[in-house]
Symmetry: C2
Subunit: 339 residues, 2 copies
Amino acid sequence: MTTIHDVARKAGVSATTAKRAINEPQLLTKATLERVTQAITALNYEPDRTAGALRRGHSHTIGLMVGNIIEPFFAQLTRTVAKAVHARGYALIVADNEYDSKLELENLRMFHGHRVSGLIVRSAFGSGNLEYLKRLHEQGTYILEIDHFLADSPFGHVLLENAECVDMGVRYLHDLGHKRIAALTVFDAEKLQDERGKAFPNVMKSLGLRLPKAYQHGATLSEEGAYSLTLQLLRLPEPPTAIFSMTGNEAAGAFRAIRELKLRIPEDVSFLTFDDYSWTSLVDPPLDVIIQPIQDMGLAAAKIVIDAIQSRDLKKVVRKRFPGTLIRRGSCAPPKKKK
Amino acid sequence: MTTIHDVARKAGVSATTAKRAINEPQLLTKATLERVTQAITALNYEPDRTAGALRRGHSHTIGLMVGNIIEPFFAQLTRTVAKAVHARGYALIVADNEYDSKLELENLRMFHGHRVSGLIVRSAFGSGNLEYLKRLHEQGTYILEIDHFLADSPFGHVLLENAECVDMGVRYLHDLGHKRIAALTVFDAEKLQDERGKAFPNVMKSLGLRLPKAYQHGATLSEEGAYSLTLQLLRLPEPPTAIFSMTGNEAAGAFRAIRELKLRIPEDVSFLTFDDYSWTSLVDPPLDVIIQPIQDMGLAAAKIVIDAIQSRDLKKVVRKRFPGTLIRRGSCAPPKKKK
DNA sequence: TCAGTTGATGGTCACGTGTCCATTTTCGTT
DNA sequence: AACGAAAATGGACACGTGACCATCAACTGA
């Protein structure tokens, strides 16, 4: 393996000087810089970051833990963060927790072992691993939450304006004349960390809308869960006239269920969902969606983390919110008059 | 930062013994092992892999370079590989090359700098970086190609039975009575490394089907490219009666184009595509698809790479093919009789 | 011309581990 | 009880870098 010493020898300078050609080129004479640069190319030298990591105490590596990388939301986030991070000379280690605390802990251990410089995390529900995160932070890893945050979390985060978006969605349906609106979300009290799930009943209440007990079965974030919940809702004696899905993942299951019941959108039931996935505009009718600015969020997260690392200010807490955008395509309409 | 020495001191043993509790527990007395294990938990000790990496020469890290992580094919692959790799104690660093050699080279540099133990690559077209890969290999990184392989590549790979699948697809359409079949694929001679693109004209020929010049404009792998190519094809004086998309990504663009032209599937045009993405069964009609066993492929890739690393046999070349499966859902039918 | 200053370059050491070899302890056999 | 072998444990060192301090040359201003 070529080391900086090989480069130094070849260029006829000391190792220290050779390294400066990479890290602090402004300190060198043009001539020296040139010679070293040539030696580097000639030898195909690439600094060993594992050695640097050992010396520095962290690895020039950012960890990204997502909920489920198969969901386009996280796939897009991963890509954006990966690009942003590479652009600043860091590598990205990814893991997904599948919304499970136990798996999450294993992943955190792995990140710890690799001495990631920073960690962008979409925690699983529950706050089981907050202690571990705090310990990681004490040991020098900058931590930022994304898409969701733990109760009593001391860390910064990058989030959607969740409450505002839920409000926007419900109001939109209400303005169309809907009274019986069901959300595919989490009603479970223990899991109330979910902002969208928390916001929904509040908005309903503030608009003076009833929220029947029968509508308050929480779906999981899975396609399957949303599928069966939707079937169940639409078979009620008083089924909702509008369904509001809180994630694009759940939307796929719900859409499948609606089709299976041979209900027409929007004539029989209106349908609104978070996330604009590639299929949401391909189905018939194309779906009304609330778009999250995933790219902006990913870039912001990467920037916050790397800025903090580079300025060696691990105490810095940045909390940022991004607005969503409602796009109307025709899957929501006034409810049909019935009698 | 807690080190193995802290653990050793706490357990009243030497550092060497303490490390054995982690790496070679079978060498220790039950009692000693127990004491060390307790010390480890008490101190929340997590071995520093950056130090180990330096000593060992590689980082217990696997690099995965995909074409475009937003495509569900790669997202699923990433997840599977990540899980498999974690299960064996490795971390996964991801990067996507966006099918671009220049970006790819940057990523390879990054992988090199991090001294990844192994690398799973979906190369960009062209063989610009084969030299770099060879160099990486000489320096101790095990390399495996996936989904595609470079001309004259000395490395192992994990691939779909591409030719067989194209054959299966074209035959399926031919058996339904189609004569004018267009593929969304690459016809570009320079890029003939694409197995599906290479197979298509061959199969057509072997079935005695004409392949008009007008059908031979290569699409890129992008949704956009497929969209405009499909528009163009369907506006020809003699438009194809069946369209065969070579990736799920292109399928989205093609489907959009067909809808925009208000053509009915399968009455006006039959549609078949590789990849079973979540939307392909949600649209109307649900699409006939050729499924790739992504999970099997990802697991196989991870296993091949890690086995080779652990057995220290970097010369080992494994080449594995996986079959695809054709699923019929109703987007292909006999062409309408016309006069 | 010389002291003081700045710019350019060089040398040393520690980071925490894995590897190799050395030493001590335990066990089985006679 | 004594010996050799095997099991268990310990010590020393190197991996390539970044941080820090040391040295040397070039320049400035009086």
